[in-house]
Symmetry: C2
Subunit: 197 residues, 2 copies
Amino acid sequence: MRKSREETARTRERIIAAAGQEFRRNGIAATGLAGLMSAAGLTHGGFYKHFSSKDELVAEACGASINRVVDALAERAAQEPPEQRLRSFLASYLSAVHRDNPENGCGLSALGSELSRAGDAARSATTQAFERMVDIVVQCMPAPEATDARARARTIVAALVGAVSMARAINDPELSDRLLADARESLAAMAYPPAAG
Amino acid sequence: MRKSREETARTRERIIAAAGQEFRRNGIAATGLAGLMSAAGLTHGGFYKHFSSKDELVAEACGASINRVVDALAERAAQEPPEQRLRSFLASYLSAVHRDNPENGCGLSALGSELSRAGDAARSATTQAFERMVDIVVQCMPAPEATDARARARTIVAALVGAVSMARAINDPELSDRLLADARESLAAMAYPPAAG
DNA sequence: TGTACATCAGTGAACGCGCGTTCACTGATGTAC
DNA sequence: TGTACATCAGTGAACGCGCGTTCACTGATGTAC
């Protein structure tokens, strides 16, 4: 049953994609390899033909899923006229759709607290993804060259992650919606600093 | 080996306290009952004399540990002169000490993404703790009666949670420190809105 | 207040289960001539 | 280009292990008279 090189590579990507979804949906520690492999359409025995350990997959899957989402956000932002970029970025990150579909959303908010306990490779992927999101936010800001633009962008990214994470954890649907709406408003105000909001 | 009522109650509290620390240190899913019970100085067999399941303990431990931290924050804030409250609150929440000691810190940032997958009781505790933190932030703000004070306070609490969570996950110590410093600055500016920062 | 008995907190061994990992095997793919 | 052989992706069973949970047992505490 040996597979061709291309098919092997495709299988590997399929495992990484399935892992990215399962991790974001159920958490890393709570996701078993057997379930994950069957989500990828395989039996669990073949796992070690592609990865040397669960940790290696965790690092690859976290990196890939976070980067894919960041790519999509960057691409969407670039299509908007500059003055609407930030608002539209905030609207899509802080949306009910994003909150209610963690398996396809940003890994930083879906896995935040688990990433701090992950291996070094996964944490490096997290660090890079965080920086990339800061880059995007800076480029969405009305005055990207302001001296404190990057400092404010870091705070905005942290707030995005925290807001989606809390909006998911909170038990009260009204409060959850309100938190997302408030964050859209307050973070836009933070990005348009002097008196533009 | 039956114990007195008071000692039984004390034992129960001891288990809850140990669980609160272990969960914040290692995560909920990654913490086993046997290790947790031995951290409380007991053998694992006695667990079910105090709780009907791990889920019940999770809810109690999350509620208790988050509330204890929020109490401490509220108390400390009340002791500060009003004009320093917000700055001092931000300084202690967004400190390296807090980042580096999750086991005694705020459960919202230590468990954020796991709480969204927890049972209903734990999520209710999360919701209450979030609201209490918003209350504290509002009372620390220079103009607590402003119409949008509570909306900004919600964003600030979400940003605090996200910033500590990301500061822990990030692999680069300099960037981690910078994120905390930037958040202290930008969130203070958000709380003193017109031109006070 | 003292005695007799029921209760039950805590121990330590055991339960079935799913975990991450390993392995013998299969048969199509890749390589060498 | 065709043949012979080595490689290896994927299967399915099995490994030891720690998980949450249960249980028989102990003996100090609580209760009833």
